[in-house]
């Protein structure tokens, strides 16, 4: 029980230190007492250390399967394997909040230790904001949501993890997402620091570039991992269901994307200062909101495993965050004013403004769709739900606009571009898109809007490739280097630009995957006896064997099929539908044969004792493209983040 005492007290001590750190940092900065500022900085580091201690204690209790601890009892059982015992850390609300705190505190400690001359004045306020946010989470952890609560006696066996969570997705998806959420605190802290000191110029936006890219990357990859998990586990027959919790993680990512783009305008042109402060705050607030939606059960969702009064505290916290930002923003309105005017509609900055508006617009639409049922319930007492129809109606035009702007924006120059040049730059992408679109239409691909969608993707894809090509040939002409050398040096000389282009390519591949999989999905329900064969969607399925057997955790129902297409064998697929004792519910394990063109997706709907099986055979075209796009997104963002050494920078200048 030492771990319980230490873990719990570490949180109390951390709370006291976080509150102290917030006050010390602000006082020290305002009264110019460097000792107090340093003490505030140490407080952030101490909170991080204490969060590590407390998390270590919880992890130990989970691994020791100490069932007297309520949290361990709720989420672990004796037959749960070790990786899932570790993942049980964040299976419930208490552990999730602790994980949030851990990531936040560690990121904060790194941020305040990173002293440079440009951020010396900002850091105390960064420390104060980090301490403040940490104090909020610590307050929840010690009062309403302690993971160290004890049961009166040790029950000897735990309930165990919800079987829906027993998937590799559980190991990677939540922590990745949580890192994204927690790290977005740092850009927010810098925004507040910039407002507090009045130094709202380009220093802070440039300084936090790595932080916001890092958070954005983790959030994006986290969302994709979640989509992948939903695709393979839940038997919904899809990677995205516009579930409130999925939505709430998508919204900060969209607004964070807007932030990444608006930051560029401030760096380059000194405009969009208000936007940047607003977007940094909004992204953070939406991350907190996402945590709140997941944990409050405010909106009915498969994710809302629990209901709790925590929601009100989250709402109060969100209100404080927004109120503080707005108040500081009004106070600093002079400094936030733009010194430059937009010169032309045909310019990089204007197209970036459109990008920002588009991303925020989509984000708000999703937010509205997510909140609408709860609002309608509160206002009119009626139960309403907003289905995928709403989202596809809103998302399709806005998504298309965003895809097209990706093609056009990088072609424009800062300041102004001449229309002839832009048109000339769009020539090849345009030709390719038309050729491709006509070819698809002639090949009998329908409906027409899907063909248009693919053509738009080709347009963007080609325009990004042309951008690479133009830079490449220009460099070759300038330097006389050989083609491979010129290419490597080009992309190596400008990580931001070419990393960004790779991400654009990734988004287009993702978009193509979304169009393909949502338009061309097929579903057939069949019934088979052991030994029978059937043709479905060009696949021949042979019922090889079935199994009905009880295990410690569940009653297992499984059907194994031999799959082939033409003369080619595609191997065996086993679809399962199991009854889990601990939750007394059915959980479906889907069988998937992935492919570049389409995935074969088999769901076991029912299995009788004589082996008669009802199967839902689906094909999901181009889903693999989502995962390829995700991989490219990762590589591109890493490339954009990768720092160039000062030496190389100087050498680059000398060229």
């Amino acid at each position: 029980m030492i771990a319980v005492t230490v873990g719990q007290w570490a949180l109390w001590i951390a709370l006291a230190i976080a509150v102290y750190g917030m006050i010390a940092s602000i006082l020290g900065a305002r009264q110019r007492v460097p000792e107090l500022v340093q003490s505030g900085r140490n407080a952030v580091i101490a909170v991080a250390a204490l969060a590590v201690v407390s998390s270590g204690c919880l992890l130990y209790l989970l691994l020791a399967r100490n069932f007297q601890v309520d949290y361990v009892y709720q989420h672990v059982s004796t037959y749960l394997s070790v990786p899932y015992v570790i993942s049980a850390f964040y299976a419930g609300q208490e552990g999730s909040l602790l994980l949030w705190l851990l990531f936040l505190a560690v990121a904060g400690a790194i941020a305040v230790s990173h002293r440079r001359d440009w951020n010396e004045d900002l850091l105390p306020y960064v420390g104060a904001v980090v301490s403040g946010v940490a104090a909020f989470f610590l307050f929840l952890l010690v009062t309403f949501s302690s993971p160290f609560k004890l049961l009166p006696a040790n029950p000897g066996q735990g309930i165990g993890l919800n079987p829906l969570l027993e998937n590799p997705g559980m190991i990677y998806h939540p922590p990745t997402l949580f890192i994204g959420y927690a790290v977005y605190t740092i850009p927010f802290a810098y925004a507040i620091a910039a407002l507090a000191t009045g130094r709202v110029g380009s220093g802070w936006v440039r300084g936090i570039r790595l932080w916001s890219l890092f958070a954005w990357l983790f959030l994006g990859i986290g969302i994709l991992l979640g989509a992948q998990w939903a695709y393979v586990e839940l038997g919904w027959g899809g990677y995205w269901a516009w579930d409130p919790v999925e939505n709430s993680s998508l919204i900060p990512w969209l607004v964070g994307t807007a932030f990444l783009h608006s930051v560029m305008v401030q760096e380059r042109r000194g405009m969009f200062k208000r936007w940047n402060v607003l977007l940094a705050t909004l992204t953070f607030a939406l991350c907190v909101f996402a945590t709140f939606v997941t944990r409050s059960g405010l909106i009915e969702s498969v994710h809302a495993f629990q209901r709790s009064p925590l929601g009100y505290y989250f709402l109060a916290f969100l209100f404080i965050v927004l109120a503080v930002t707005v108040a500081l923003g009004i106070w600093r309105r002079q400094e936030l004013a733009s010194k430059r005017e937009m010169e032309s509609f045909l310019s990089r900055e204007f197209s970036l403004l459109v990008t920002v508006l588009g991303m925020v617009g989509i984000g708000l639409a999703v937010l509205l769709g997510t909140l609408y049922p709860a609002l309608a319930q509160a206002l009119s007492g009626r139960d309403l739900s907003v289905g995928p129809a709403f989202y596809s109606r809103v998302f399709t035009p806005l998504g298309a606009a965003v895809i097209l702007i990706i093609a056009i924006c990088p072609l424009l120059a800062w300041g102004r571009s001449s229309p002839q040049r832009v048109l000339r730059a769009m020539l090849w992408p345009g030709v390719m898109a038309i050729v491709f679109g006509v070819a698809l239409a002639l090949a009998g691909i329908r409906p027409l809007y899907a063909v248009l969608g693919f053509a738009a993707c080709v347009f963007v894809f080609t325009s990004v490739l042309v951008e690479f090509g133009r830079g490449w040939f220009a460099r070759k002409r300038m330097t006389g280097e050989s083609y491979p050398v010129a290419f490597v040096r080009l992309v190596n000389k400008n990580h931001r630009r070419y990393g960004g282009y790779l991400v654009h390519l990734a988004i287009v591949i993702l978009a193509a995957g979304v169009i393909g999989s949502s338009v061309y999905k097929t579903s057939t329900t069949i019934s088979m006896r052991p030994g029978e064969s059937m043709q479905v969607q060009g696949y021949s399925l042979k019922y090889a064997e079935y199994a009905i057997q009880p295990t410690e955790a569940k009653q297992r129902f499984a059907v194994t099929l031999d799959v082939s297409k033409g003369n080619r064998s595609l191997g065996r697929l086993t679809a399962e539908k199991n009854f889990h004792w601990n939750i007394e519910q059915w959980v479906t394990e889907v069988a998937i044969r992935p492919g570049l063109v389409e995935d074969l997706y088999v769901i076991l709907s029912g299995l009788e004792t004589n082996g008669l099986a009802t199967l839902e055979v689906q094909t999901h075209p181009m889903v693999t493209w989502l995962w390829i796009g995700g991989g490219l997104l990762f590589v591109g963002t890493l490339w954009a983040m990768w720092p160039r050494s000062e030496k190389k920078r100087a050498a680059g200048r000398a060229e």
Partner: protein, 150 residues
């Protein structure tokens, strides 16, 4: 056991946080990055160059933008030179180097010189303790023979 650990944890955390208040600040130098304005001006110039080379800007636009950047850089340089001049006017004249005058010809010499640069007289002899007459090295604070301050 648990209580002991909690007390230790509390003490350690409190000590770490309070340390700067008790010890005072030891000013450690803050790592400097080349100032952001300059970095961004360079990035701007690189960007414009690439935009021109890849055909996003025509000759005239490129020339206009480059002129603008050059003018801004001139202004910035001028501003910095003025700032440096102002700073120099404000600081006092540097103090003359410690050393002394040659006892033979009166020419000044730098600390560490052994012979006068003007007349060649040995300067080592010029350094003798006023109390006991023993020679000492330049830079010594006390006489090695009698211990009196020099």
């Amino acid at each position: 056991m648990g209580t002991v650990l909690v007390v230790l944890l509390t003490l350690a955390a409190a000590a770490f946080v309070a340390y700067p208040l008790v010890r005072g600040m030891r000013q450690r130098p803050i790592p400097s990055v080349p100032d952001l304005e300059t970095q961004m001006a360079y990035a701007d110039a690189e960007e414009i160059e690439l935009d021109f080379r890849t055909g996003k800007l025509d000759e005239a636009e490129y020339a206009a933008l480059t002129r603008k950047i050059a003018a801004a850089a001139d202004d910035e340089l001028e501003r910095r030179i003025q700032a440096m001049r102002k700073a120099r006017r404000h600081t006092a004249k540097p103090a003359p180097a410690a050393g002394g005058a040659c006892p033979r010809c009166g020419a000044p010499y730098d600390p560490g010189d052994r012979f006068c640069a003007k007349c060649g007289a040995s300067l080592a002899q010029a350094l003798v303790c006023a109390n006991c007459g023993a020679p000492y090295d330049p830079g010594d604070k006390f006489c090695v023979k009698c211990g009196k301050p020099l």
